[in-house]
């Protein structure tokens, strides 16, 4: 299980901010989230959405250790 965090408009789309989700890789998490909620799946795939695993930005489809924190980050707007 990974702890998934959604930020900005992503949590508005999903209706939640934080959830435990099963998935061995970032891609598997994305697939599971999209299967449950097509709007969220689309929002996660939008241009500029980055992924951080344990607070470090990752690219591609890295494997996830058990208990990993996976954050989906829309374009950052500054403060």
């Amino acid at each position: 299980m990974a702890k998934v965090l959604l930020f900005g408009r992503l949590s508005d789309v999903a209706g939640w901010r934080e959830r435990e989700v099963a998935g061995a890789t970032v891609g598997a998490l994305r697939a599971r989230l999209a299967a449950e909620d097509a709007d969220l799946g689309e929002a996660l795939a939008a241009p500029g959405v980055q992924v951080a695993v344990d607070q470090a930005i990752v690219r591609g489809d890295p494997a996830l250790a058990s208990g990993a924190e996976v954050a989906f980050l829309p374009p950052m707007s500054g403060g």
Partner: protein, 150 residues
Amino acid sequence: MITLTEAPFDPGALLGDFSRGRTETGAIASFTGLARAEEGAAQILELEAYPGFTEARIGEIAEEARARFSLDDFLVLHRVGKIAPGEAIVFVATAARHRRAAFEACDFLMDYLKSKAPFWKKSHGPDGARWIEPTSQDHADLGRWEKESS
């Protein structure tokens, strides 16, 4: 030091603490960003951060500024959560031997904080809430530093 806070803060108290007891610093620049009231079209601003991640990314840029401008010290305090018109959103102070470095480092940090820092910004207006994306002016401001370093 990089701090995120949900509570309103007084920029004067921060500058007072930051400037006290310095003997080799010749120059302290500061910037305070305030939420404008927009003449009654007042919108509550809401800022979301990713605790830990946000401070770490700002810290990386601040360390870059420290090296690039030979800073003696810096302070960044940023509000998160809901911010009322007239309240301070961000405070940055930089200390250096000379004023050019202090000004430029403060300006550089603010450009980063306003355009690229890991915040997600929502405006609560009379027509509901909307997420705000960075402005083209913010990107143009940040571009000044990228050109200079190339």
